[in-house]
């Protein structure tokens, strides 16, 4: 009896999967693929979307100078993606920003630094930022978000070749797959991995 109770939902789930697979070509015909990094159950993230503390949304970047200076070249990384000490390291080297001179004036550097450190991952209550902060050794201050242990772990199932697809280019191009990334929403439901 107990077994039956267990098997029935499993069977209907199987039927659902079969039905979904049948429709797959139509659903995925938009140039994207999904589920490359396994489902959320597999990753041990089965709790509710706003399961802990301040939810799972990282507050979006809302500083005008930060938006203007930083998002011309790359994804507008939320301050909550790195701890304050990392932002200090980034803003302490704007003349050599991953090989580029940002040509920022002193006042701008000061404003950006204040904004970023005040809103760093270690100052946030959302679940993702707190996990980011907790994953980094207190003696280190990584400047590459892509090297944060939490980030590496979360993307471990994505192949290197996937990141180098022309429309993605690099691991640092969050918005290429996280369709709501700009809003600080990195939920699996909104991940669409471009095929090319």
């Amino acid at each position: 009896m107990k077994i039956k109770k267990f098997i029935l939902p499993l069977l209907s789930a199987g039927a659902l999967v079969a039905a979904m697979t049948a429709f797959a070509p139509a659903v995925f015909a938009d140039g994207y693929e999904r589920g490359e990094r396994g489902d959320s159950e597999e990753r041990g993230e089965s709790e509710g979307r706003n399961g802990r503390n301040g939810g799972r949304i990282i507050p979006p970047a809302d500083n005008a100078a930060y938006k203007q200076e930083c998002s011309s070249c790359h994804f507008l990384y939320q301050p909550g993606l790195l701890p304050a000490r990392s932002w200090e390291a980034v803003m302490g080297a704007t003349g050599k920003h991953f090989g580029e001179d940002l040509a920022l004036d002193e006042a701008t550097v000061k404003e950006l630094l204040a904004y970023l450190t005040a809103n760093g991952a270690d100052k946030q209550t959302n679940r993702r930022s707190t996990r980011i902060a907790a994953s980094i050794d207190s003696s280190s201050a990584p400047t590459r978000i892509t090297e944060v242990p939490y980030m590496v772990k979360e993307h471990r199932k994505i192949k290197k070749e996937t990141f180098s697809r022309p429309s993605i280019k690099t691991f640092s191009n969050c918005g290429a797959c996280h369709t709501k990334g700009a809003e600080g929403n990195f939920e699996e439901d909104f991940v669409k991995i471009p095929k090319n």
Binding site: G99, D101, K169, T170
Partner: protein, 141 residues
């Protein structure tokens, strides 16, 4: 009826022609004009050349440390009227003012981006003559 069609065609051709005229070449505003004048003064150039600007825009250079080929076109593509893409995949709006009115309107922005990008491509700042030719080229498109 035939006449109607003919005048309709004529009107559309005229509309298309004036539309295409509207998106060719642009005039710099007062501030940008004085910026270009300052380039003239410091370079001693009488005038700037769109053709020189085009050559400069398309020239390639190997970075001394990274050993990779770099050019304005690496990110902006060879057609400034088209959108480009940064090396980390972010879309760049077109450079040509004829298709992007915001371009080359703010001297501070212009100078900042010359400094950033000349350093990236050439490992030095651009000369006033290079900047003048560059803007002249962009304005001519």
């Amino acid at each position: 009826m035939k006449k109607g069609i003919r005048s309709f065609i004529a009107a559309s051709v005229f509309a298309a022609a004036s539309a295409s005229m509207a998106v060719s070449a642009a005039e710099p505003n007062e501030q940008v004009r004085s910026l270009v004048d300052s380039y003239k003064k410091s370079s001693g150039a009488q005038s700037f050349s769109a053709e020189e600007g085009r050559k400069f825009f398309n020239s390639k250079r190997t970075h001394s440390v990274k050993k990779e080929e770099r050019s304005c076109t690496t990110c902006h593509t060879t057609d400034p009227r088209q959108p480009g893409k940064t090396i980390v995949g972010k879309v760049i709006e077109p450079l040509a003012p004829s298709v992007n009115k915001e371009r080359f309107t703010d001297p501070e922005k212009i100078e900042k981006w010359f400094k950033r990008n000349c350093t990236w491509v050439l490992e030095r700042e651009c000369t006033p003559r290079e900047k003048g030719d560059y803007i002249t080229y962009m304005m001519s498109l």
